[in-house]
Symmetry: C2
Subunit: 315 residues, 2 copies
């Protein structure tokens, strides 16, 4: 079966990473951005990602040139989506922009193309309601960069059809992503709700003077996250009591109930708390070195994902 043609709309960091991910899996990809220079840069970026991925052993025996050759630039949105069966939109996080782009996509795309937005902060209902083809519109929210991190949330608006959900999940699984198929839309989807809950407590601990920002990072990085990166939180607690998750809740539920009772007020994320966190981060990393640190993190993430691919039993 020949992989479906894919259109990627918006050629920033997320769009480029998506273009790479689809192309690596063999899809022909068309790419368009309202700024032609951005699309040109994204094409170069795909080759760059592919080269790094090859070095990490993550290119499945292909050459960067083979992968990059599957990505072609389109002169306009209409040409870009003309033959696509999946459209991945990654333009700026602005509801009016998304509305305009989705109206154009719905008008130009094939009737059975799935229209997916990469938005992390907007609900799909907020920019698809009035569209004729709203049943094939949804959110497919990745964790940055989707070229490395497999989880992706497939989020329906109230009017999204099951067919579009199914096809989007299948497309994502086909390129090696791990789709999370949500039953309905909710602010923050699932991953940012979980991240938000963790950050709320982290902010609370800093605001209350219980922990420094470095303590929080040490506790997660060198404490909880290595296990979570193998198991996820439910599997982790299931494996942490002789009788599984029910036994864990019987043993530790009372402690979490006591803790939880003090986690019901929202801390202030700004003012003195943010000052303290920023001071700690800037002491560890001057702002001028941030891009270098991002590159280093991406390299380490690539090595980590290559490690998981070698170590994890294929299912």
């Amino acid at each position: 079966m020949r992989p479906d043609p894919i259109a990627v709309i918006g050629a920033g960091l997320i769009g480029s990473a998506w273009a790479f991910g689809f192309a690596r899996a063999g899809h022909p990809v068309t790419l368009w951005d309202q700024w032609p220079e951005a699309a040109q840069a994204a094409h170069a970026r795909v080759t760059e990602i592919a080269t790094d991925m090859q070095a990490a052993g993550l290119l499945d025996g292909q050459t960067p040139a083979q992968v990059a050759a599957r990505v072609t630039l389109a002169p306009d949105l209409e040409t870009c989506v003309k033959n696509a069966l999946h459209v991945q939109e990654s333009v700026s996080e602005n509801v009016d922009v998304k509305r305009a782009v989705f109206a154009a996509l719905d008008a130009a795309a094939l009737p059975d193309a799935v229209l997916a937005s990469s938005t992390s902060a907007l609900l799909p209902s907020s920019f698809t309601e009035t569209l004729k083809g709203r049943a094939r519109c949804l959110v497919a929210h990745p964790i940055n960069p989707p070229s490395l991190i497999p989880a992706v949330e497939i989020v329906p608006a109230p009017w999204t059809g099951a067919t579009a959900m199914d096809r989007c999940a299948a497309t994502m699984a086909g390129i090696g992503q791990k789709p999370i198929r949500m039953a309905r839309e909710i602010d923050g989807f699932i991953m940012n709700r979980l991240q938000g809950a963790l950050l709320q407590e982290a902010m609370r601990l800093v605001a209350d003077g219980i922990a420094t920002p470095e303590d929080i990072d040490t506790g997660i990085r060198d404490g909880l996250a290595p296990r979570w990166s193998l198991c996820g939180p439910f599997e982790a607690i299931d494996l942490n009591a002789p009788g599984g998750v029910r036994d864990y809740v019987a043993r530790y539920g009372p402690m979490y109930r006591i803790i939880g009772a003090r986690q019901t007020t929202l801390p202030d994320w700004e003012g003195a708390t943010l000052d303290r966190i920023e001071a700690a981060r800037r002491a560890a990393l001057p702002l001028a070195d941030l891009p270098k640190a991002q590159t280093r993190r991406d390299r380490r993430l690539m090595a980590l994902m290559a490690h998981f691919r070698r170590e994890t039993p294929q299912s």
Copy 2:
């Protein structure tokens, strides 16, 4: 400098892992358990851990026999702690048992020995208040297994002296742990408060029918945790906005505020929610296979920590 003698009290999974960790770093370790068979088994367990660690490249060029030879069994608590400068207690999580053991330790240990408990759920004030040497009593709470996971919380009771805190942190850093030095005791310390906040939201999402337990595990395992295992949550958000953490809060703070407003009630961890989580876990892993899965997780964790050791620039 010859490494300080260490006493390990309680020879379960945590005690054995501690004995290994101290011995690997060169400390002479005495080990005692109220059940002599448990202490015997722990000695064998130390050799087993050391053998696995050697295979993973985590034994610093030593042989398992060299490491195991540093651990000797003591016939009673008094003999065990006689020469120790750091005592690590890992008996059962029962406040009366801890009280009795700490009274015995305080009576038998050298005046300047630090007395550290591995408890995860009890505050140090709850079992050390009446002791003459209460200023040298504290909690040093590891994440299981401490032979692999470096983070350890050093938690003072209100009467714990700064010297004991300093010495415990130095001992822990000396064996390669990453001590988190807390300013004061609080239920759940830092790591379980963070884990608790994440689990509360995970339970809420399952209770509300937004996510399945598998969705939660996918979102953390294949989404957020790989990055957290490199960076911790504050460094992660600092690297996720062009202007660092302050810029991140300006961009995403409003979204987290909206999410947070729905995270202020505590979900029920039992009843139908727990039934659903247990059903999902038991479908993925029959209870009879739990020990095998724990062993597999420990092997994968060992490989992961070996990966980090190879990849992480030494600081």
